[in-house]
């Protein structure tokens, strides 16, 4: 079940649209924040709040790459390896994350601090390689500064 704060947030979001269904994507983000990831429980909460069938909610959510279908680490690393970032060495950073943090794409680091998701171009091609950690953009990455950046996330 949603907290009353979450319900209020969803109801406010809903006023921006002529019907409840259009609030689905924003509501899923609220649920993801509330529950940590989109479990069946989260889907049921969204479904009941908006009056959308549960199967439909899950079908829509799983279409989009940024809704998480399994538990995540404390901080989410979204690293791009698309062409421009790949040309500038993104793959080496993937290897680095594996060696240093035991972090595989789609997995959680051994200490539970980080999850890694490989992204398909996050619009930082001119400052590649780049990544998001939670909502923070980090660009012009190297193995050295990557480590420095990640150390700041407890």
């Amino acid at each position: 079940m949603f907290s009353s704060a979450a319900i209020q947030e969803i109801e406010e979001i809903r006023t921006k649209y002529p019907n409840a269904r259009a609030a689905l994507l924003p509501a899923l983000y609220v649920a993801q924040r509330e529950f940590g990831w989109l479990s069946r429980k989260a889907y049921v909460a969204v479904a009941e709040q908006l009056g959308v069938p549960t199967a439909t909610v899950r079908g829509v959510a799983t279409f989009y790459a940024m809704y998480k279908q399994k538990p995540m680490g404390r901080h989410l690393i979204q690293l791009c390896t698309n062409v421009s970032c790949m040309l500038l060495g993104a793959e080496r950073l993937v290897d680095f994350l594996k060696t240093k943090y035991g972090l595989e794409p789609g997995g959680i680091s051994s200490d539970g601090r980080f999850s890694l998701v490989i992204m398909e171009c996050i619009g930082a091609c001119g400052t590649a390689p780049a990544m998001l950690v939670n909502d923070d953009f980090h660009e012009n990455l190297t193995e050295k500064n990557l480590q420095d950046i990640l150390e700041k996330y407890a």
Binding site: R40, Y43, G51, P53, T54, A55, T56, R58, G59, V60, T62, F63
Partner: protein, 860 residues
Amino acid sequence: MITVKINDREIKLEKPMTVLDAARSVGIKIPTLCYHEQLERYGGCRLCLVEVEKMPRLQTACTLIVADGMVVRTETEQIADVRRGILEFLLINHPLDCPYCDKAGECELQDLVEKYGPGKGRFTEKKRKVPESLQDPVIVRNMERCIMCTRCVRMCEGLQGASAIAVINRGGHSHIEPFSGGRFDCEYCGNCVSVCPVGAIMSRLHRHSYRPWQVKEQYETVCPYCGVGCTVITQVRDDVIKRVIPKLGSAVNNGMLCSRGRFGYEFVGSKDRLTMPLIRKDGTLAEATWEEAITLVAKKLSDVKSAYGSDSIAGMASPRCTNEDNYLFQKFLRVAVGTNNVDTTARAGFAGAQSFLENIFGQGATANIISGLANSDTVMVIGGDPTTVNPILGLQIRACARRGGQVMTVGEFEGLRIFSPTTLQPRQFTETTLLEGIVTALREKKGLSGANTPLEAKIKSINVTASDVAAKSGVTEKQLAAYVDILTAAATFSMVIGKEIVQSTGGSYKLLLLAAITYLANGRVYLLSEKANEQGALDMGCAPDMLPGYRPVAYPEFTKRYGAVWHAELSEKPGLHLFDMIEAAEKGTLRAMYVMGENPVCNIPNSGRVEKAFRNLDFLVVQDIFLTETAKLADVVLPALSWAEKDGTFTNMERRVQRVKKSVQREGMEDWKIVAEIAKNMGYRMDYTRAEEVFHEMAKVSPLYRDLTYEDIEKGENIYPYKGEPLRDVKEDIQVDTSAVSASAGKLYLKVERPLFHSGTMSTHAASLTNIYPHAVARIGAGRAKMLSLTEGDVVNIRSKSGSLALFIAIEKAGDDSSVTISNNFESKGAFRLADYTLDQVTKAPCIDAVEISIEKVTA
């Protein structure tokens, strides 16, 4: 006029349509996969790509609307290449399961590849692997075979309205599954199975048990379960029904089925079927020969008749039996026994409600076409969830909502919830006040036209203000006003009435109020009907006061006329209706009963009382297909052939007469044949060799079915009033029973569940339906459960004045705290075991809305 050219052939069209439809109209075949005529167009498989002059890209014929002057080519080298390419794409991840897959022989992909496909594929990479899912008891999923046509999802979401399955993920990782990922836990209508073109979604009932080309026989018949009367096709191999499928384009259900119709046929082949007659000897039932049994029945009935008179014998016909069975049964009682003591369990709701409404609006008031609900702009539902009682009718209401129609309810109905109906939820036992308030306000808004004087006289006498409604029922003035506004604005209004209203205190008065609303809103009325042939049983004269075709027995001109055709003198004394029979048996004025195709101990309240009454009889004959609770009390049990094993007719709630066709050969006799045998043994000849002959005689004597033949029915000339004379007179004096009951705080009341997966007790003999809904439960609201410290799965004793039941509980999140809901489908565990009743004085239906109960937890 739109002129297009397809493959150099000029086609003239009167209205715009897709290129695909235009091609089909002249017999030009364009291959398709994701297209389905009932479903919203998708354009995803790309198999129907065609060349269109002046359009640079190839176009999908299923989505492109024709334009005047369009030139289309469907059979060029390029198109042939494209089709090979698309089919190659569909096959790269499709497993080579044909030798093993149940769909082979009726697989659309197989057929298309054979006709248009490449001979060999070039794919040498790893195929997608998804294991077969047998997690659901009824539907098996094999997502490796899925070609993502999404017909199943579009059917479930768009047409069925259940939204139980969805496409998960995207791209090449897409697959289709129900919310749980395993069990469907859905309405199990199986309409997804109907539309899957490959072996990805299939029924488990016939898994690996036959090949489509081995099915030699196929019969178009009518579903035996509810009053909708869907057309079903039974597919038979070696006298076993292998599968039941719908028929696209059929009049009533147009290719849709519900779980009962589709998966409920297994009762026919159940090993619990009665095979031999049984006679009670020394207290136990023992097998006997037909000769022994028939002779005994004839002798005993004759003895009772001589000793106590004809009226000491009564018969119960059946809304599950065919018109032929029922016609002959009432004839038997009237001519061989000489009594009008004949009735059916239709008396418990449908019969009284229908005659009440027909007294106001004329005969045929409820004979409205079910699919018309989808086209109504406003539908009001009260007294039952149509999506569980008459599921295909419920689908029409969902379609109405989808098309932007207003769906209004009194009370919450789970099957309509997601369609956001306008709902009023009056406090318990205050419906009458609410309905009176609606009538008052609606009359003020719309005025009276003068068309129906008796009804208008009643309407004028109703004056309940909005503040009265608010005070008594809890429905606010604002809510009431909004509700009435919708009714006022309705241009094509339909009222749907369920049994709960009829079986409630003051039910006839409530029916009057509902009739008034329907009249003021200028609409039509539908009465939900739980059994396949309730209407037919009444049409056949299985009523104590009516001869076949609704001519009253009390009128000598009719008894003489019928008597002439039947070569007998008929009694003019109206007989006992259903509940009077029970009372008479209790008192001892009724000494013998003949029950055909019915299980009154289970199917009518109050089970304990019925049982006691039957035990008091000198002689009880029960004729059925299973050894029911009632049959277990009988002196003689006669095994009958089931619905699938005989020919006949059913009349559905639209009053549409339809043919029941024999699909399976089995040794034994039809109900009507057994009745004829008993009659013969009692000295009254009934020589019929076929059901059609029985129907023919009935059509001679019933003014309603006059001259109707099987041929007429099969031609589709089977809609009320056929070639007959409907009765149009309206009663001047509308009688109502205004009894009322009020809630006592803190008391717990019984509610009867009418579930989707069961109908009567017959469905509990179908393994798949009991797999879905296996045993009786007491459904309790979360609040009440918490008060009693109950958790899911606990066992409780539910007690009432009339009896007690030990049941598992199920906790309903949204359940109301003043009632416990129990089904009445599982023998000896039915709600009617607890239900004492009073009779509505007008409809003679049992009022079971005020049954007080108590619960206590059973500690292990």
